[in-house]
Point group: none
């Protein structure tokens, strides 16, 4: 596990690094925002600890910058200012948590763990395909982290395909995924759903395509 610590008080930073090391966490440290961004490009951090008051500006400005660059690394904001309104400010802008100084290292650790647990757990249930993130458990689909709505039947088809991404899914498997045994299906309804789903995926620039394997079934692939 590797954290980036952006903090200009060197004593605090050093103490934190030691404390985190005891929890088996590797910490990179910088005092300036400019360097911080560089570092995020070169390394893949599990989380970022961010001070607000920094020599080269307000720490919060870093959050949208990182987000715009396409990364969703969890960010925990550290600060002396702990007013409710400022909390909101931080969270609103896309930070994941907020911790007012002074704090106990144990409390920080708890928050780091909490913030890390989130994506890991999600990773177990979420499928990435093209620019899409598909969550079969919650039945939702996002493209570039904005919600992508689909009609229920098309959604079920997509999920069934995504679960076996890059592998052929038999036609009969799809039918079972979309219809229960009570609902008999007398026409090419499934084909129609595939067709409509393809159109929507293309229009939305999803980055995936549904291929047909003649006589067998379908297959979802990155474009």
């Amino acid at each position: 596990m590797r954290l980036l610590l952006i903090e200009d008080e060197k004593e605090l930073a050093a103490a934190l690094a030691v404390a985190l090391a005891k929890h088996g966490i590797v910490t990179d440290h910088t005092t300036h925002l400019a360097d911080a961004f560089e570092l995020t490009l070169q390394n893949d951090y599990d989380a970022i600890l961010l001070d607000r008051r920094l020599p080269d500006g307000e720490g919060l400005t870093f959050v949208p910058k990182l987000r715009r660059s396409g990364r969703d690394t969890p960010i925990i904001v550290l600060t002396a200012r702990n007013e409710p309104l400022e909390r909101v400010e931080g969270l609103d802008i896309g930070a994941d948590d907020y911790l007012g100084k002074p704090f106990l290292v144990e409390e920080l650790m708890a928050r780091v763990r909490a913030v890390l647990r989130r994506p890991t757990n999600l990773a177990e249930t979420e499928i990435v395909a093209g620019r899409m993130v598909i969550n079969p458990l919650h039945l939702n689909v996002a493209i570039d982290s904005t919600q992508f709505d689909l009609p229920r039947r098309e959604l079920l088809v997509l999920i069934a395909l995504a679960k076996r991404k890059n592998k052929t899914v038999r036609r009969s498997t799809l039918e079972e995924a979309v219809y229960n045994y009570e609902e008999e299906i007398q026409s090419n309804a499934l084909d129609a759903h595939i067709s409509r789903l393809r159109k929507r995926l293309a229009d939305a620039g999803s980055g995936v395509a549904i291929h047909n394997i003649r006589g067998v079934g379908y297959l979802l692939k990155d474009e």
Copy 2:
């Protein structure tokens, strides 16, 4: 928020359920350990309140059973025996807290909150959505830092949606968040709540909107 109460004294159980309901907590109740385990399989509880002395055995035996099944739902043990030694017994075995009868409901609530705060998400204590700040633990909602009061059921719906802000929440999930299994729901009560909640959110200029995902559920988004 949803609790499982395992307690054989029915009057106490009923009184507790009412008291917890006032705090916006949905309570499922059972008197036997055997049923309790079943219920934990079928539902996802935020915490479990467990009596020690039960008709079909020592309540504590339930703790390792649940843990072995892979769940870490917080358990608070309730009991008349409040000897320090017995506390240790309970905690040792994997319970999270211990409360000797008689107790004040307020004390119980404080412990429930504490136990919920611990495991996962400190970050979840406050959710920002539009101009609202929602605190699921304390069940309050503020718009521009002034208190925004909602009827209980609507509040529960809002919180369930807010916890998964920008993501679809299944209709069934919402129903579970608002009703316990005894309260059967024979009509479109949930729809009615959604409708009324929408109106209130709009009138108050909350800055959020509830969208419907046909066939799946609902979704809370910034406007």
